[in-house]
């Protein structure tokens, strides 16, 4: 296979946290060298990046695809196209499908579908408990053999602490990563907003932000007890951050993520019951949003994900409390992240540390970086390009984006997986 040289690129390096002009040499699907601005190398093919940003492709942890069960909401084909267009080169898919991915046979089906229909890398998760019911653990060993990279019950909390402690103990023996949704389940039951003035004015049942910390506190105690590898899918409140920090300082194998929506939107965006802004956990106060952005900057929160959750019109065009939760995000993750960059809150390298490097590291992948030896999973983008988001232009089957008709900046120009170009904008 031939060598390709990406020249004149603004290289976003999340390991070194640098943002310099240079070139990248790719051979046989892998990055083989990085050259400074003045250096030169010969290659069969040269791609002039013309000063645009070249970053490691996004590793999106927690993508929901409607296969099996809800293909009318999202298929591997449409999600794959959306990912390519959004600069996402690896999708870590969620197991909260219908039926849930809780046995190796279902997982094999998913992998087969993914390989046939998506140009990006798909790594599936399996559920931690059968049917996500929180009663019996799944065949974690067999699921790992079949290719499961992590174990999660999605937004279902394993309420029974004994079940969770055994599942964590067993997972630890296999070195499996467990991803949980930290939330006190009884406090959050039936809630569709964060408690406070806004929820009260709208007459929506709210959950106290403290419920997230209570859930996290319990889980961390179990991690301390079992030694399991643990990731909190979304930490969205200021009150949960000290607990996370303590766990990390104590040397527990704990990481945390947050969705791009909780970093760029707050509860007031719900306005007059706009259900595209109904998420789980619900959008938070502006104070919480700022605290969480800061935590991404300091590295306390490790991972930014899209928490891509396709919902069709029938599930969203309902009174707010009856409507389904979730928003799509594969294609809007990068432009939404650019809001944080343009606001001066986070640098490009910091953003790609959270979107590419850290999720790859957490899952033991070689991607997510620009260093020699890493797979040439790359995204080329213009961080400044302005546009108005039109949800009908999105590739996802479901169009439930909260950014519809909003002005955004930052567009993906091209995406490569293992050196192969899988998307180029017109």
């Amino acid at each position: 296979m031939s060598a390709t040289l990406f020249t004149n690129a603004r290289l976003i390096d999340p390991e070194a946290l640098t943002d310099d002009t240079g070139s990248l040499l790719v051979e046989n699907g892998r990055i083989t060298a990085r050259l400074g601005a003045g250096e030169n190398a010969s290659a069969e093919r040269v791609i002039d990046c013309a000063g645009a940003c070249l970053a490691p492709g996004i590793v999106d942890l927690g993508v929901k695809i409607g296969e099996p069960g809800e293909r009318h909401k999202e298929s591997f084909r449409t999600a794959g196209r959306a990912a390519a267009k959004g600069g996402v080169t690896t999708m870590i898919t969620r197991p909260d499908t219908l039926p849930a991915i809780d046995n190796p046979e279902t997982l094999e089906f998913v992998l087969r579908r993914a390989q046939a229909d998506t140009p990006v890398t798909v790594l599936p998760m399996g559920t931690l408990t059968k049917g996500r019911e929180g009663r019996e653990m799944t065949e974690i060993g067999f699921l790992m053999d079949a290719g499961a990279v992590a174990f999660s019950d999605g937004d279902h909390v394993v309420e029974n602490t004994k079940v969770l402690s055994r599942a964590l103990t067993y997972a630890r023996s296999l070195g499996a990563l467990v991803i949980a949704h930290p939330q006190e389940p009884i406090l959050s039951r039936g809630a569709s907003a964060t408690s406070g003035k806004f929820a009260s004015l709208r007459g929506l049942s709210g959950v106290t932000p403290m419920a997230e910390r209570m859930g996290l506190d319990r889980d961390i105690a179990l991690v301390e007890m079992t030694g399991a590898r643990y990731h909190a899918d979304q930490i969205t409140t200021a009150r949960a951050l000290p607990a996370l920090e303590r766990a990390k300082n104590n040397g527990f194998d704990v990481t945390a993520g947050v969705s791009i929506h909780h970093l760029t939107l707050n509860e007031l965006d719900v306005a007059d019951y706009r259900t595209f802004f109904k998420l789980k956990p619900p959008l938070r106060s502006e104070d919480d949003r700022q605290a969480v952005v800061e935590a991404v900057g300091s590295g306390l929160i490790d991972i930014i994900c899209s928490m891509h959750t396709p919902q069709d019109a029938e599930s969203k065009r309902l009174p707010f409390e009856e409507a389904a939760s979730g928003a799509i995000g594969l294609e809007t993750l990068l432009p939404a992240a650019m809001r944080l960059y343009h606001a001066g809150a986070l640098g490009l390298a910091q953003l790609f540390r959270a979107m590419s490097l850290n999720p790859a590291k957490r899952l033991g992948l070689a991607s997510g970086r620009l260093s020699a030896g890493a797979p040439a999973d790359l995204v080329l983008f213009d961080p400044d390009k302005p546009f108005v988001m039109d949800r009908w232009s999105l590739e996802s089957k479901s169009k439930n984006t909260p950014f519809d008709l909003q002005r955004m900046q930052g567009r993906v120009m091209a995406t490569w997986v293992a050196g192969q170009e899988i998307y180029r904008s017109a």
Partner: protein
């Protein structure tokens, strides 16, 4: 005209002038309703549909009477027993309604925001007759009219709202309206029945009813909505009545000429002593019912005028 909206979905978007305009017009309908020929023609030729997804005999009757007095063709649809039970969504209901060409749609729904959603999809004027825990604007307007007539003004009054604030759309609409008209609002109730974030509402919150009632001009009692509760908000009815029920001793702390209000239906002996409710010197509860019809006539009249102005 300073009420120019297409719908009446809540008090929140109304400007004080709009509130005054509705109340001023309602005054004329109070007179009409007390006259021999209780009939106007402001809604003649228009179709009014009352759609109640939640039972309310009183509110529905009030809207029906208001529409009929102004000459509208009024139809009641009892939605609890209709196609909704067969799985029809609110959007489909809206599309069905559009085909019937109503002019005024009066909606009550158990979900907060459901009336807003419906209003986005129908081609007529929508009046919110109560949505979940969100708003009940005509109740707040009729309360305002009652207060204005009893006190001679609707500003610089001390108004205490007592009881289950957390589950009450009546309380929300009243807090908003009384605040807009520059009154001091006190909320009285156990902390388990206060909504979250209440400190940011620009009201004073009292857990002790005796402190809260001191020197108020208006005492507004709320129904203890037992059917709304998941359980465990208060220890028992009798302890609630002891601490938060309005009786003569507690009422004596208010101003001598303080009025007592209740949106009904009352739980006598739970939130209010029966004798106080019936005391014609203090209780304006019957007036509230009367003002309800007048305010709804005024609101529908103004919405119909706005519809015509829009069509012209």
């Amino acid at each position: 005209m300073s009420f120019t909206a297409r719908h009446l979905l809540g008090i929140e978007p109304l400007r004080p002038e709009a509130i005054t305009a509705i109340l001023d017009l309602a005054e004329t309908y109070v007179d009409l309703n007390r006259s021999d020929a209780k009939h106007g023609d402001a809604l003649a030729g228009l179709t009014q549909i009352n759609m109640f997804f939640e039972n309310s005999t009183r509110t529905q009757a009030s809207f029906e009477l208001a529409g009929k007095r102004l000459g509208a063709d009024v139809m009641n649809m009892a939605m609890q027993t209709s196609s909704v039970k067969k799985g029809e969504t609110l959007i489909d209901t809206a599309l069905t309604l559009n085909a019937m060409h109503p002019d005024l749609l009066v909606v009550r729904h158990p979900q907060s925001g459901a009336v807003d959603l419906l209003a986005q999809k129908v081609n007529c004027a929508v009046l919110n007759a109560g949505d979940g825990r969100h708003e009940h604007p005509t109740q707040a307007l009729l309360d305002a009219l009652t207060i204005r007539r009893a006190k001679g003004r609707l500003h610089r009054l001390n108004v205490a709202i007592c009881g289950d604030i957390a589950h009450s759309r009546v309380a929300r609409s009243n807090i908003l309206l009384l605040g807009k008209m520059e009154n001091r609002v006190r909320l009285i109730g156990p902390p388990t029945l206060m909504p979250s974030g209440i400190a940011e509402f620009g009201v004073e919150v009292y857990e002790d009813m005796e402190d809260g009632l001191r020197d108020v001009d208006v005492v507004m009692m709320l129904r203890l909505q037992k059917e709304r509760m998941d359980g465990g908000f208060i220890p028992s009815e009798r302890e609630y009545y002891h601490r938060y029920g309005l009786d003569a001793a507690k009422l004596s702390l208010a101003k001598d000429d303080a009025i007592v209000m209740h949106p009904g239906p009352m739980n006598r002996g739970v939130e209010i002593d029966g004798e106080i409710a019936d005391d014609i010197n203090r209780s304006v509860i019957q007036d509230q019912v009367e003002m309800g019809v007048a305010v709804r006539m005024a609101a529908m009249d103004l919405l119909a005028r706005n519809l015509r102005a829009e069509a012209a």
